[in-house]
Each structure stands twice: as structure tokens, then as C-alpha cells.
């Protein structure tokens, strides 16, 4: 009996494997089934649930959600001056963080890709990746200590007549800029590595100054990398609410409004409506970016 069972198993396994061997599509389907289920359940379902929830209402006293269709939440988000002001502020911060990171990242990435030797390049890559090993919260709280009125920055700036910006929007931009910098350096570094040195030499042979070479040869080749990098810093800033809580003083961003609508107000539909703003902004941004071809180099 044992022999027969094992024969059966062998032949069963054999049949399965020949079936899979002959049918490539089935093979692919089985391979992708798990990740696709995961993606659909976690990502698409959550987004759809978010969209649908935004149209429901909540009983303000007992906190029960009523599944009655209503456009009130969307209307409030679109018309209230509060949401408009906070959206503009959040987008402004995200833009400034992105610009600051790009300006900081370009020289570092250029040095790493074109000037540093293989050994120091490796060290630099490690140095840039190192902060990612530390917890996000620890870094934000470290900035809270640095920016404090008796913190490091004050101590450094006081002798030359400056002073720390304290907690507020400037502090948020500084902290976010620091947090996302590695995500901006790496795509630009990869992009610069692909730019061939012969192009730089040719440009210089034809009489271009260094700055002209960068502006007219390097930067145009780098556009996809820069756009890819900006997606990271822009989207990460757009959805963040922890940094602004820690170093933002009294200010609030879109994430905080979502948070208070869920946490304090217990108004999930309203929170969903607010959360749609960054989703829509990011879709718009990605659609614009798609045309530059940057998504392929992500």
C-alpha cells in the first residue's frame, strides 16, 4: 500500500509539473496570484473604501457611521477656507522641501558619480544610507532638540548674531528636507552614473564652461532622475503629520486634519474626504510626470 501511495504521489506531482510546463499562462497566473491578491486587497480595496467612505455621514454624538450617500463632506473640503489654506500650506511645504533637497542632492550626487574614487564612493553611499537605519521618530525628535531655544542651533548661531528659527514651518521644512534627502540623492546619483564621461569631455572640447556643461548637457539628461527623486520627497512630505507635530509648533498640515478628524472628531467620512486631497494631488503629479518618461527610471 505504501508503495502504491508513493507511486500515486510521484505520478501526481509529475502530471502537475508537465501540465505547468506545457501551459505558460497558467504558470504565470499561479506565480502572480498571491502578490496580485495582496495588492488588490490591501491597495485597491483600501483606496475604494476610502473613496466610498467619504460619501457617508456620521452621527456626531454616538459616533456611528451612517451609510447614506451625501456630498456634504466633499463640499466642505472644497469650499471651506480652512481646508484650502491647509492644502496650500502643505503643497507649499512639499515644494520647498523638494527644491531644497534637489539643490542639496545634486552636488553630492555629482561628486559621488563623477569625481570620487571607487573607495570613497562606496563610503559616501554608506554614509547616505546610514541615517535610514535610524528610526524616523528618533531623527524628528533629534531635530526638536537641535531647534530648541537652548539647543545646538541657537548655540552655534548666537555668536554671529543669528538665532534658531524655533518650532514652526521653517523647522518643518528643515526636518523634512533632512529626512527625505537620501531618497533624493540616490535616484540622481544613479542617473548621473548613466551619463557618460565622454559627453562631458566632448562638451568641454567644444569650448563649454563647466556651468554650461552642467546646464546644457547634464541637467537635460537628468530630468527623469530629478522627477523620480522629487516624487519621493514631494509625496512623503504631502502625507506626513508626525514631523509637523514634533517640530511644527502650532501649525498643522493635511495629515493633521485627517488625524484629528479620525482621532478627536471620530468623523471617519470627513477624514476620508480630506485624505482624498493628497491622493488627487499625487495622481495629478504622476500623470504629469508620466509624460516625461521618468516613471520608467524609478
Amino acid at each position: 500500500m505504501a508503495r502504491a501511495g508513493s507511486d500515486f504521489r510521484t505520478s501526481f506531482a509529475h502530471r502537475i509539473s508537465s501540465l505547468l510546463f506545457n501551459r505558460a499562462k497558467l504558470r504565470l497566473g499561479l506565480l502572480l496570484a498571491a502578490p496580485i491578491t495582496w495588492l488588490v486587497l490591501i491597495y485597491v480595496f483600501a483606496l475604494v473604501a476610502l473613496l466610498v467612505t467619504a460619501f457617508w455621514t456620521v452621527d456626531s454624538f454616538t459616533g456611528a457611521v451612517h451609510m447614506e450617500w451625501s456630498l456634504n463632506n466633499i463640499q466642505t473640503v472644497l469650499t471651506s477656507s480652512l481646508y484650502r489654506a491647509v492644502t496650500l500650506r502643505t503643497v507649499g511645504i512639499a515644494c520647498l522641501v523638494t527644491i531644497a533637497d534637489l539643490i542639496l542632492a545634486f552636488p553630492i550626487a555629482f561628486f559621488m558619480a563623477k569625481i570620487a574614487g571607487p573607495r570613497s564612493r562606496r563610503l559616501l553611499v554608506i554614509a547616505i544610507l546610514m541615517p535610514l537605519w535610524a528610526s524616523y521618530l528618533v531623527k524628528a525628535y533629534a531635530w526638536r532638540a537641535v531647534l530648541s531655544h537652548d539647543g545646538l542651533l541657537q548655540w552655534l548661531l548666537a555668536p554671529i548674531g543669528g538665532q534658531t528659527p524655533g518650532y514652526g514651518l521653517t523647522a518643518v521644512i528643515l526636518t523634512q528636507g533632512y529626512l527625505w534627502l537620501p531618497y533624493v540623492i540616490l535616484p540622481i546619483f544613479t542617473g548621473l552614473e548613466k551619463v557618460q564621461n565622454s559627453l562631458l569631455e566632448a562638451s568641454s572640447d567644444l569650448g563649454a564652461k563647466n556651468w554650461q556643461t552642467i546646464r546644457r548637457v547634464v541637467l537635460p539628461l537628468l530630468v527623469p532622475s530629478i522627477v523620480a527623486a522629487s516624487i519621493f520627497s514631494f509625496s512623503l512630505t504631502l502625507g506626513d503629520y508626525i514631523t509637523v507635530n514634533i517640530v511644527g509648533g502650532a501649525s498643522q498640515m493635511l495629515g493633521n486634519l485627517v488625524y484629528t478628524n479620525v482621532g478627536a472628531a471620530n468623523n471617519l467620512p470627513m477624514a476620508a474626504a480630506v485624505a482624498l486631497i493628497p491622493v488627487i494631488l499625487m495622481f495629478g503629479y504622476l500623470a504629469a510626470v508620466r509624460r516625461t518618461g521618468a516613471l520608467e527610471s524609478l
Binding site: 473604501a49 459616533g63 518650532y167 502625507g239 468623523n267
Partner: protein, 388 residues
């Protein structure tokens, strides 16, 4: 990338919460009646409360008042803590908890939604020893029925750095009308319920508004409080809801004056040089109550717990650990020296100056019937606008 994943899972949890909230019970207060006699313990009990309200020694082996209860009653306790009153409501609605320690800004909502049952206080012997000024109050009693027994209470005080804020303040005006003197270094509690602090101030300084209860504000009165808070906003350095953040801000001098809790004052170092005062206008505060779920299968264990937590020794341990006043005079002999004095336990004059957190509702809590009051949803919207 971890962050993105966190946000995604938060979305998912949010969606799940939305779905589960749909099946929540419809409001049906005051039809239920309390039990008339107690039986044997059911062997287990599931509790929900603020952090530090039911310690079993797992956080700190020296801090344990749950194990003696388990041994005496035979009820095995599991405890879950929450961070905000709103989180508490959502958790309690899952029906997984037998009893909850809730603040006054949650209790009325629990009662109205029918989630908790009226109590028969005759079956809770230690309730007799509870200070009378904590009994039969708006946040634990509805239509003459008691729904909660007190756990502990405290006031939101005014804290200031002695070397900066001179003379020592005796009025909230230092954070409202006079806040510009400390521009950028004023702090305030980050919650819609803080609007009541402004209302307490207006009660004393703008009697024409006719505010009788800081949790019963009509449209005009709310507008006045919001205007006051908006002018305060210009001078606020940061808002706090995490008490560790408040401690760090006062230690570093980024905040020099603002609202606080007694437990924060006790945690400050001597170097920070802070003082705290209950201002002349009075203050807001909290008085937390243990309530029993209406659908509990462990009602006997729940009653035993309510009796235990109001008993002298356990109440002293629990309230001193959290940093608030105990609810019975007998507890004072078990706390460390000066415990009852530092929290002004039993001081009825001190307690009468405290306006305990209560959920603002449309039916005015001060008894007015000619106007509609603003509810908590309106307060939340107003709070977001104040922060801008």
C-alpha cells in the same frame, strides 16, 4: 517606504473601522435597569482604560494592584489602554470589554448609545466612602440613574517658569488677554475640549456673554471663545497632547506658560524651575468613571472590580501612579507622604473650582431650553479653524 506601508495599513484599518461602526447599536438610553443581586465571579474580566489605570506589574514589578484583585476575586483580568476618549468609544463598541474607565467627555456618549448599563451602587460597598462631591454628577448620572463609579479626578492647572513669568500669575489672563507678553512661548492643550478653558475664562471676564457652564455654549458664546482662542493662537509656540512633549518644552524653555496636569508638574526637574497654580477663575479638569458594558457576560466580576478600585488601598495605588486625586479619604493613609495634599484630595472648595470634562451636546447642559447649544462636532470644527 515603511511609512508608506504604515499609511496603507492605517487606511485599511480605517476602512475596517468604518465597516464595523455601521453595525453599532442604535441609541437607547435609560430603558435598561440595573441588576439587583450579585452572584459568583465568572472567572475573567476584560477592562479598557487610560494608560496606568490597571497595572498588573508587567510594566513595573513594583506597580501592581491587579494581581491582589485576581487572587481575591478569582477574576482573571485583561487590560487594554487607549490614548483618547474617541479611541475609547471605538474600542468599547467592539463589545470585547466588560468595563471601561471613561472621562466625562466620553461617558455621556457611552450612556446615550446604550453601551453601558445603570449600576446598583448598593452592591458596591466601597462606593459609600467616595467623596460626595463626585457622586450624582452630570457625567456619571442620567435621569437619576448612576452609570459610573469614580476612579480619580484632577484639574488642568496653569504652569509657568518662575524665572520668566513675573509676577507669579494667579489668573488665566496670562495665556489669554495678556499672552502677547510671552509671544511664541505660550502652550495650550491640543484638543477641542480646550475650548472650555476659554469659556471658563470668559465666564469670569465677560459676564455679558452669560456663560453658566463652559460645556454649554450657544453659537454666540462659542464664537466669543473661538475669537479668544484665535487671538491666543498668535502667541502660542506649540500645542501639546502628549505629556512628554510638554515636559521637554518646559525643560528647554520653548514653552514658559500654559495649561498642565499635576502629574507633569511632579515630573519636572528642579532646574526647570516651574510653578503651578489653580487660577482664580477656576479651571477645567477630569473626573473618570468606571462603567459596565450593557452586554457583558461577566457582570459579577465587573462589580467586584468597581468595588475594588474604589477601596482605599487600590484607589491610592492607582491614582498616585497616574498622578491624580483619589476618590475616597481612606486612600490617603496608603499613599506616600503628602500624596493627598499635592492633589488636594477631598478639598471640596478646590474641587468646586473644577469644571470637569463633559461632552458638549445640542441640549444645553446648563438647563437652557430656549436655545440650541453647540455639540462636540461643532467644537471639533471650531478647533481646526482656530489652529488654522
Amino acid at each position: 517606504m515603511k511609512l508608506a506601508a504604515m499609511k496603507l495599513s492605517a487606511l485599511f484599518v480605517g476602512a475596517a473601522m468604518a465597516l464595523s461602526a455601521c453595525s453599532a447599536a442604535t441609541p437607547s438610553a435609560s430603558t435598561a435597569s440595573s441588576i439587583t443581586k450579585l452572584g459568583k465571579g465568572e472567572g475573567s474580566l476584560s477592562l479598557l482604560g487610560w494608560p496606568g489605570y490597571a497595572e498588573d506589574g508587567s510594566n513595573d514589578p513594583k506597580v501592581d494592584w491587579v494581581t491582589p484583585f485576581e487572587q481575591a476575586s478569582g477574576c482573571q483580568v485583561t487590560f487594554k489602554s487607549y490614548g483618547t476618549s474617541d479611541e475609547a468609544l471605538n474600542l468599547f463598541k467592539t463589545g470585547n470589554y466588560d468595563a471601561i474607565a471613561a472621562s466625562g467627555d466620553a461617558t455621556l456618549r457611552l450612556i446615550a448609545s446604550g453601551a453601558v448599563q445603570p449600576l446598583n451602587t448598593k452592591l458596591i460597598p466601597s462606593y459609600k466612602g467616595v467623596y460626595s462631591f463626585l457622586k450624582n454628577r452630570a457625567w456619571n448620572t442620567v435621569d437619576g440613574k448612576t452609570y459610573g463609579v469614580p476612579h480619580g479626578y484632577g484639574a488642568n492647572l496653569l504652569m509657568y517658569k518662575k524665572d520668566v513669568v513675573k509676577p507669579a500669575p494667579t489668573s488665566w489672563s496670562v495665556v489669554f488677554d495678556g499672552s502677547s507678553a510671552y509671544k511664541g512661548h505660550v502652550t495650550a492643550y491640543d484638543s477641542p475640549i480646550y475650548i472650555a478653558d476659554a469659556a471658563v475664562y470668559l465666564m469670569a471676564h465677560n459676564p455679558k456673554l452669560g456663560i453658566k457652564n463652559p460645556y454649554a455654549l450657544d453659537d454666540n458664546q462659542l464664537k466669543a471663545a473661538v475669537d479668544l482662542l484665535k487671538s491666543q493662537r498668535a502667541n502660542v509656540g506649540e500645542y501639546w497632547s502628549d505629556y512628554l512633549k510638554e515636559i521637554s518644552a518646559f525643560e528647554s524653555g520653548d514653552s514658559v506658560v500654559g495649561t498642565t496636569w499635576q502629574v507633569i508638574v511632579n515630573s519636572m526637574s528642579a532646574k526647570a524651575n516651574v510653578g503651578a497654580v489653580l487660577p482664580s477663575e477656576g479651571a477645567t479638569g477630569w473626573s473618570d468613571s468606571w462603567m459596565v458594558a450593557s452586554n457583558t457576560k461577566h457582570v459579577n466580576c465587573a462589580y467586584k472590580w468597581l468595588d475594588y478600585i474604589d477601596s482605599a488601598k487600590a484607589n491610592a495605588a492607582a491614582t498616585e501612579y497616574f498622578g491624580e486625586a483619589p476618590v475616597t479619604q481612606a486612600a490617603c493613609q496608603y499613599g506616600s507622604a503628602g500624596f493627598c495634599d499635592s492633589y488636594h484630595a477631598g478639598d471640596a472648595t478646590y474641587a468646586s473650582k473644577i469644571w470637569y470634562w463633559t461632552t458638549p451636546i445640542a441640549k444645553c447642559l446648563d438647563g437652557r431650553t430656549d436655545v440650541q447649544c453647540t455639540d462636540y462636532a461643532a467644537w471639533t470644527t471650531a478647533w481646526q479653524e482656530i489652529k488654522g
